[in-house]
Amino acid sequence: MIDERIYEQFKEIGRDLYEQTMISSHGGNISIRLGDRVVIKRRGAQLGRLKPHDLIETGLEKNDSGVTLASTELLAHRTIYMKTPALAICHCHPRTAIAFSLSRDEIVPIDNEASYLLKKVPVIWEEFASGTPEMANKLAEALQSYKIVMLRGHGSFAIGQTLDEAFFWSSTLEEACQIMLMAKLINEPFIEYRRMSEAYGKW
């Protein structure tokens, strides 16, 4: 039985992800770790309209009947939990960040907020990008050192102690990418305002 307080957290973050166009109607997935258990969105459920039965609980390492209903990204979530200190994961499809991921191996924000919070977001890639152990391992390895990572052409995976925190990193990245896009459209010379900013790319 999943505590109603936990359902409320899922419902609020899911709704915000949808309303901020960080996902399509049925895209993305979020989860939390409860000790040796994982609570994750049900496969096919709409994050923007979560009901209590859309939350699936299953083992962190061991399978049980919950896996028949869990999100297709369960493997990635489990692997991340086992290899990083994450207690919550937010996977979404931030459009501007996805667009930037198509042309670079890392996203280095230029705005103050994201420079301050993220410094740099690596972009990783794998031939079979969804639900494979190769992808899951690559993601978990990157998330050992970074709190948010982009999968090229697919979306972001962010970790945190709470869903709220993981969502925060996701929306910060998308905002940063929107600002970068606008700066490109304005197409005027960039005036560096951040001391030691050259180190962000080496973060």
Partner: protein, 597 residues
């Protein structure tokens, strides 16, 4: 090699032998320094057959790879020993200047073993290490001893015990730089049992920094974050740690009158705001600390450092006392005696309840501010009623036939957060390896302050994961060794990168937290080897069965049992709280399996 100095000093007080060893770098990589390295060394040194107050116990003083580098708050150091209060593994750490100066002597750690046949002190200088006579210092209070040995903040630093340590009080602290303390669990008594009055350090070496450019960037970024956080740039500098008094009271989680209540009607009178308005002389800071939470306070009778939040709570709300000047004076006497203020205040609160119900023959009553200063002094000198109280609340309450009235876990007095109003905090206390303690991880951030984000303080399901993460992070921070307040503005990924810049070893954030997990599990194994069991992972019965009578936490008790069950599973321990072999293998601790089988 950056960060570490590469040497360990070994002083045998029984024989007078002084030896230098190379630091085992594999251990240093696995445990960093401070608490982690101390726990690992203690495992080899002190087994279950050793009485904590016998010559067989050791004191292991450790710095960390960041100590003395100039990274924010890199002034701290740690002591590890077997606790005379709890019988568990113990580490305590402290700020000030001594830790930085110790590192400058060129050592990462110092083991002190055996027992001198008369009072002595150890002096470590660039030209050598000497054991010197301290008979003229024995009996002196901390400020006299510190002054007599030539304390000079940036050049020569003194660590010592006061009368409480000499008299083997099991809640005696080790004091450094005058009024800083390695407080909890009675390390001062271990020093006293060795006839070791003081350790004086003077150094001129500096740890190497492998990537200076990256380190400067990390200094810059860390400073930026600490300045941006209202907690580290405004609340702590302006009001000190006592700023938490009103915050914790307002949510109904401030233990009051030996935990009979969880809100104190006199909180405002002993708050950080009142301290600043009426008694603050000036702020002060430890070496390389931009936060500066230290208070210098003054009353008609005393002037000195403190009091901290926990101290103000222990002598204040927990004793039903709203007289801040009496609390400041009690804090001052604790510092002079060399006593842990949390345990001292909480033990007096326990004595007040025992006296009120007629089980202890004393005038102590809740609210008797006029008695606390002289009671603390009597505890330090082990005289009159003080002799009854000098070994902490559990031993006192047992002698009076009511051990349940000791608000302690594993024998260590609980700090200023009521587990009934902060469910995670209760689990954290119950599973703390050194006994009831808020410095083994603290749920204040998540359950009250919203750091990094707020969680429901009454939620039970899933709480174990947060507690485990924060226990691991605390063990890691204690092994670096830096101040936990830094973590209120700076995330652990910064510590990983700063450590990588200093040492040249590319620690990821995940690997760094794994160091904390490794330490936590080794400490657990130590306690199991000492004979502790699942039954010791508990809280005072009052907190499990007596609901909070009023306020925002009204009706709540600690729901420890379901959280504990989940905690063991999430830790990779069996149902009895014993780490499973695969978990130990994962943490490179497989060699210790047999020792606790």
């Amino acid at each position: 090699m950056g960060g570490w100095m590469g040497k360990v000093l070994d002083v045998n007080l029984t024989t007078g032998e002084i030896v230098k060893h190379p630091l085992d770098m594999e251990l240093a990589r696995q445990f960093l320094g401070g608490r982690g390295l101390g726990a690992r060394m203690l495992w080899d040194e002190v087994g279950p057959d050793v009485d904590p107050l016998s010559p067989g116990n050791v004191l292991i003083f450790t710095s960390g790879p960041l100590t003395g580098t100039g990274y924010q708050t890199s002034n701290r150091f740690s002591v590890s020993t077997k606790s005379p209060l709890t019988g568990t593994v113990l580490d305590a750490n402290s700020g000030g200047f001594w830790g930085m100066q110790f590192k400058k002597t060129g050592y990462d750690a110092m083991i002190v073993r055996g027992k001198a046949d008369k009072p002595i002190y150890i002096e470590i200088k660039p030209d050598g290490v000497t054991i010197k006579d301290a008979q003229h210092l024995w009996g002196k209070v901390v400020s006299e001893t510190t002054k007599a040995l030539g304390q000079n903040n940036n050049k020569r630093n003194v660590l010592c015990i006061g009368p409480a340590g000499e008299n083997l009080s099991r809640i005696a602290a080790i004091m450094n730089d005058g009024e800083r303390s390695l407080a909890r669990g009675g390390p001062g008594a271990v020093m006293g049992s060795k006839n070791l009055k003081a350790i004086v350090v003077e150094g001129k070496e500096r740890p190497d920094i492998v990537d200076d450019g990256k380190f400067k960037f990390m200094l810059y970024e860390t400073r930026k974050l600490l300045r941006a956080s209202p907690l580290t740039s405004q609340a702590l500098p302006e009001f000190g740690t006592v700023v938490m008094m009103n915050v914790v009271n307002n949510i109904g989680a401030l233990p009051t009158r030996n935990h009979r209540q969880a809100m104190f009607e006199g909180a405002e009178a002993i708050s950080g705001e009142t301290l600043t308005e009426k008694y603050l002389v000036k702020n002060s800071a430890c070496w390389a600390c931009p936060i500066g939470c230290t208070r210098i306070s003054k009353t008609d009778k005393v002037e000195g450092e403190g009091p901290e939040f926990e101290t103000t709570w222990a002598f204040g709300a927990e004793c039903g006392i709203d007289d801040l000047s009496a609390i400041i004076e009690a804090n001052h006497v604790c510092n002079e005696m060399g006593l842990d203020t949390i345990s001292a205040g909480s033990t007096i609160a326990c004595a007040m309840e025992l006296s009120e119900i007629g089980l202890l023959d004393s005038d102590l009553r809740f609210g008797r501010a006029d008695l606390i200063v002289k009671t603390v002094e009597a505890m330090g000198y082990r005289r009159d009623l003080g002799a009854e109280l000098a070994d902490g609340s559990l031993r006192l309450a047992k002698r009076c036939g009511r051990p349940d009235l000791s608000m302690s876990s594993k024998g260590m007095e609980l700090p200023a957060y009521d587990p009934r109003g902060m469910q995670g905090q209760g689990l954290l206390y119950a599973t703390s390896n050194r006994g009831g303690c808020h410095m083994r991880g603290n749920m204040l951030g998540l359950e009250v302050l919203g750091l990094p984000k707020l969680i429901d303080r009454f939620q039970v399901q899933g709480k174990s994961s947060y507690v485990i993460l924060h226990q691991n992070m605390a063990a890691m921070i204690d092994s670096l060794v830096i101040c936990k307040f830094t973590n209120m503005g700076v995330a652990e990924e910064y510590f990983a990168r700063a450590l990588a810049a200093v040492t040249g070893i590319q620690y990821s954030t995940g690997e760094l937290i794994k160091v904390g997990e490794r330490t936590y599990n080794l400490e657990r194994l130590y306690n199991l080897r000492e004979g502790f069991t699942k039954a010791d992972d508990t809280l005072p019965p009052r907190l499990l069965t007596e609901p909070v009578p009023d306020g925002p936490s009204k009706g709540w008790v600690s729901k420890l049992e379901p959280m504990l069950k989940e905690y063991y599973r999430a830790r990779g321990w069996d149902e009895n709280g014993v780490p499973r072999p695969n978990k130990l293998a994962e943490l490179s601790l497989a060699q210790f399996v047999e020792a606790v089988r």
